[in-house]
């Protein structure tokens, strides 16, 4: 019953006119930015962070909720209409959705993705509202060593377990961890890796890193291989509405996608790729129209889109209750919290229930707004997609640098942005995953201080890490998750990927 009261209180916060306006602006901006090709939800949040600098925390987090869902929705529009998924989670959508658009069924594809996202987002947010208080109860019993072990699990699953190559994933993670060391050590005040540069004493800004890696890196990468690809925008022809047949074929995939997306997103396992692909292959197996798969089957859009959205809401569970970001987007959300000195976790639920529950309630509202706004506005989004590539990327870079200029107009900070851009370009070129860098930067220092706190409490005895049953279990999970891809590769399971 407690959850209902808290949620009702959150609703009361969220429906205040100013907060509704923030949610509306967030949804609008999020979709507008997210719809631009090559911009995924993580970058959308990173680019729009400066817009929220001057708002109060409540309003800005509500705007964030809108930006988050808007960015996701925008990404799937791009995937359907020009076949450039902004993130790997939209790949399944692009597969079938773009075929539908080519066949003149772009409208129903967009509709099933919008309604599916709404259904999945709503169910998953309800799941979040009920799971969160329970997890908070568990989390308050966590000692520093348990937190450290939990973060080890997140590090491993985000970087090694589910990627193409555990070595490249771990390399990305350790680059992030290295960047996390830069600056003044919080426990002793010693400067690390600052090399006497005063600007480095504050550490590396998460937004600078994310915008550099995602926006500047992407622009450099697309520019370098411009001669390879020709993007084609499919016009939306025919009716926007789904037929009775479309509805009949969509509703089960929506629900099944949600069932895949939410639990996997809520586990600290990172990323929405797994549930979207699981959903895609399940729908392919269960469909009554197997001949349409690969040629534009509506189930192949409905299921993965629902899975993607549900897992996005799922990642908010570890983020809000444990302060544990398991995707690049969640890491950006955490950066948004930190900009107000707020640390998500069990304490935040106790200290600022209005904020947390207002945010959760806003997720419902943002979801609703997306549904109401986006289908009528689809013409506008299509026009945004038609911006010529030179202006599009020039504009993206201007916005990307503006965020840094507004936060810290220093030559050092801007040079770091450019440097991270080059890093992002090289990582794309050599196929290193980007998200682990961001997660490593933001989670590395937290993990370090938890570990050092644990060791200080135990008077330096490292056995404390395995004496707590929670911590011992989690470390074992992390070890298994780390070794599994190597062992399985030995068994030849990923052979098809390798050769």
């Amino acid at each position: 019953m407690d959850t209902f009261a808290a949620l009702a209180h959150g609703m009361a916060v969220a429906v205040q006119p100013m907060n509704l306006l923030y949610a509306l602006i967030g949804v609008f901006l999020g979709t507008a930015v997210g719809v631009l090709p090559g911009i995924g939800p993580a970058l959308t949040v990173a680019l729009l962070l400066p817009v929220t600098y001057k708002l109060d925390p409540g309003g800005s987090l509500i705007m964030f909720a809108g930006i988050y869902y808007g960015g996701m929705y925008g990404g799937s529009t791009t995937a359907i209409l020009i076949n450039t998924p902004g993130e790997s989670a939209s790949m399944a959508t692009a597969l079938e959705g773009n075929k539908m658009a080519k066949a003149g069924r772009g409208g129903p594809a967009l509709a099933t993705s919008a309604i599916g996202s709404f259904v999945a987002g709503t169910i998953a947010t309800i799941g979040l509202a009920f799971l969160a208080p329970w997890l908070v109860d568990v989390a308050v019993r966590f000692g520093p060593e348990d937190y450290f072990a939990l973060m080890c699990v997140a590090f491993v699953t985000v970087s090694a377990t589910f990627g193409d190559s555990p070595i490249r994933g771990l390399t990305s993670l350790f680059i992030g961890l290295t960047l996390g060391l830069v600056g003044i050590d919080k426990l002793t005040g010693q400067a690390r890796l600052a090399f006497g540069v005063p600007e480095l004493l504050d550490g590396v800004e998460v937004t600078t890193l994310a915008v550099g890696l995602f926006a500047v890196g992407e622009a450099l990468y697309v520019a370098s291989r411009r001669h390879h690809t020709e993007e084609k925008l499919e016009p939306v022809r025919g009716s926007l509405w789904m037929t009775k047949e479309d509805w009949k074929r969509s509703w089960k995939p929506w629900l099944r996608g949600t069932m895949f997306g939410f639990p996997i997103g809520a586990l600290p396992a990172g990323g929405a790729e797994i549930p979207t692909f699981l959903s895609y292959s399940t729908e392919k197996r269960l469909t009554k129209h197997p001949e349409e798969f690969g040629k534009g089957a509506i189930e192949g859009v409905a299921g993965p889109e629902a899975a993607n959205n549900a897992s996005a809401a799922g990642t908010l569970v570890p983020l809000l209750t444990l302060g544990l970001p398991t995707s690049a987007t969640a890491a950006m959300m955490l950066a948004g919290f930190q900009q107000y000195g707020l640390n998500p976790g069990p304490l935040l639920f106790a200290e600022r229930p209005d904020l947390v529950w207002g945010l959760i309630a806003s997720l419902f509202i943002a979801n609703m707004m997306l549904l109401v706004l986006n289908l009528p506005l689809v013409g506008l989004w299509v026009r945004l997609l038609a911006i010529p590539q030179p202006w599009l990327y020039a504009g993206i870079l201007v916005f990307a640098t503006m965020g840094t200029i507004a936060a810290k107009p220093s030559v050092v900070e801007l040079s770091m942005l450019a440097g991270f851009g080059v890093l992002g370009f090289l990582m794309r070129r050599f196929d290193f995953p980007i998200a682990p860098v961001v997660v490593g930067l933001i989670l590395g220092p937290i993990a370090e201080s938890q570990l050092r706190r644990a060791l200080a409490i135990s008077l330096g005895d490292p056995m404390t890490l395995v004496q707590s049953p929670i911590s011992a279990t989690l470390l074992a999970v992390a070890l298994v998750a780390l070794l599994a891809p190597f062992v399985l590769k030995g068994l030849g399971r990923f052979k098809a990927n390798e050769d």
Binding site: P50, K54, D164, S165, I167, R168, L170, T171, F174, I175, L177, T178, L181, L187, T188, Q190, R192, L193, F195, V216, A219, L220, A223, S224, R225, R226, H228, P388, Q389, P390, W391, Y393, A394, G395, L397, V398, F399, T401, M402, I405, A406, P409, V411, L414, L417, A418, G421, V422, F425, R429, F430, D431, E448, L451, R452, A456, S458, L459, G460, E498
Partner: protein, 161 residues
Amino acid sequence: MNSGDPVQPPRRVDRAGLVIAALLAALAAVLVFDSRGLPSTAMYGMGPEAMPVVIATGLALLAIGNFVEALRGNLPARESADPVPVVLILIGLALLIAIIGFGGGFILATSALFVTTSAAFGRRAILVDSVIALVMSTLIYLAFDRLLTLSLPAGPLERLL
């Protein structure tokens, strides 16, 4: 480390992969070198110098891992890349940094970046793009500096507004 290697692998050695491995090893060395300057102040447990060494160890292991992958030629296939647009965008970023650094202001700086990026993506109408860039960055400046009261760096153009 990245020059000719006497080992004869079954597949082609990936030069770029060797460079990546060397860079990771160098980064590990920097971490260890930097941490040696830190005093160990912790009475119990870990001081600030411990974690860099742990991460450096990880980096060193990954350098070996990447080195082996490169020797086996296990890196994913790459498409040819055109360096010209990349250099153009980097010039744009350098211009932006220089203009901000010398007090040229937000509008000029972002306009320079806009025009070079647009050129990198194949546009040749530099004059038209310059006008677009100036108008757009002025509007952004007004919106963010006046409406959202974010302070963006002001130069000669901004003072006219």
